[in-house]
Symmetry: C2
């Protein structure tokens, strides 16, 4: 184990269990991620793993830093998927930061136990802004200022669901294509971003990457891993999280949902079927 | 709003923001769930909503109680999907309980901020046991005793991923078909359960329902909602969480994964490709 890795472990904010070192010691599913890029399994300089070495960091490089922005009212599933995917990739460091630090009450009253303060984070390699059904907390000027600062310094500026509107409001997405939850995707234009209805959107060769609503975070994160570590890494993670979806209905997008289901959403989220729902906290 | 609902709100353990009443007041996406079964949209006694009234409780019935068992080392995504799905169904009450109560350190060092004590829960309508990559905490005799007691008193005994092994070890799944993560599904036989490799498994007309590994929790929960509230409720939730999956690869199950990816999992999870990985904490 290199000095770099030990350093990364020691300054990890979540203590025992959070670091890759501890994950390896557990010997559980999470340890499997360490195989990708692990020297023991590198077939040589021509293997797909070796080729991607350094893109997201190999087992002996400085960890690739991922910062997930959380805030009051945030939707857990928007970032629980990406967290699981990224945690299974070796030599990543995932941190959580919020406007005030400490515990954060998410949507439905769920309490996220620990977070750093956004203002205390110097920089990150990949910034991820997840969404909420109410963006009031994320759109306060003090939060917007820190999110913009971190986005400007990040290699990759990413979002899931209505987190794209939080990013867009900072101005960083001007002229960039972005996804969002289907009910809000066209609101992106209000801030100069280019709405893209796809489930995963990449612009500027991956500097900007985004996912659609809620569960899109899983597809989003697998594509981020593919981009940064290559297809084998993404395939291994997909297998570990058994992402072999088999939804009971074809009802996950307005293009497929039955008219009466769409009518119900339109009544509660006016404009949503046109991607123009005025989500609370946007202005 | 009926007295029943107010009672349910008042004794809700997570305070402001957790109850259906608060969710409705937020006016966000979560409020949309209230439409299903809401009297304003009932077309009459022949509508699909009216037909399912009472199965999981209508807006004026006592809330349908869901208990999610959490424990040290547990995998967040195993229950983050089901939580999101169930939270969007009106008149449900979701509680979280752990062996010791209080904050719980999940896998990767994530801290879940609040939980009740399993021993303090009298009963629940639906018990959900999610999985982990290390079952040590969930398989301690004191935890097993409470899980068995709650399972015996529940209308629906459910699990996701390796949570099925936790349930099986209590003995409650003897002679019952169950899913689990693909790497462990055949370990169920050790406890007299009948391994079923499907992503969602129901036995005894829904008294026992289970999902496969990690992300299967989303499919599992949508099918539970379909069973308990009918297809329209499940379709509406599926639309709200934009569950329109588009994985980057066909690599989410051993039947589809490339041989070299499978070989990597087999090296780290010996026996896993046969569903016989000896997950830590099983014995």
């Amino acid at each position: 184990m290199s000095d770099d890795r030990d350093d990364a472990t020691d300054d990890f904010p979540f203590g025992k269990g959070r670091s890759r070192r501890d994950a390896l010691m557990l010997g559980g599913l999470s340890a499997l991620g360490a195989l990708v890029g692990g020297s023991a399994l590198l077939g040589g300089p021509t293997s797909s793993f070796a080729q991607t070495k350094g893109a997201i960091g190999s087992a002996t490089d400085k960890p690739f830093d991922i910062l997930i922005v959380i805030y009051p009212g945030g939707t857990l599933l928007d970032f629980a998927g990406p967290n699981e995917v990224f945690a299974l990739v070796p030599n990543t460091r995932i941190r959580f930061a919020s406007p005030d630090g400490g515990p954060v009450e998410l949507q439905y009253g769920i309490v996220w136990g620990k977070s750093e303060r956004l203002a205390d984070i110097e920089r990150t390699d990949l910034l991820l802004v997840p969404g909420a059904a109410d963006l009031t907390a994320a759109n306060k000027p003090s939060a917007q200022k820190e999110i913009l600062r971190l986005a400007q310094g990040a290699k990759h500026v990413t979002s899931v669901c209505t987190g794209s509107l939080v990013l867009a409001k900072t101005g960083i997405l001007k002229g960039k294509r972005s996804a969002s939850h289907w009910a809000t995707v066209n609101m992106l234009a209000k801030y100069g971003a280019i709405p893209d209805p796809q489930r995963f959107v990449s612009d500027d060769n991956g500097r900007f990457m985004s996912g659609g609503g809620v569960t899109s975070g899983i597809d989003f994160a697998l594509r981020v891993v593919e981009k940064l570590r290559g297809p084998a890494a993404a395939q291994l993670v997909q297998l570990l999280i058994e992402y072999d979806p088999n939804p009971p209905f074809k009802s996950g997008h307005p293009r497929d949902a039955r008219p009466e289901i769409l009518a119900m959403t339109e009544k509660e989220l006016p404009g949503g079927t046109k991607g123009l729902w005025q989500i609370p906290g946007l202005d």
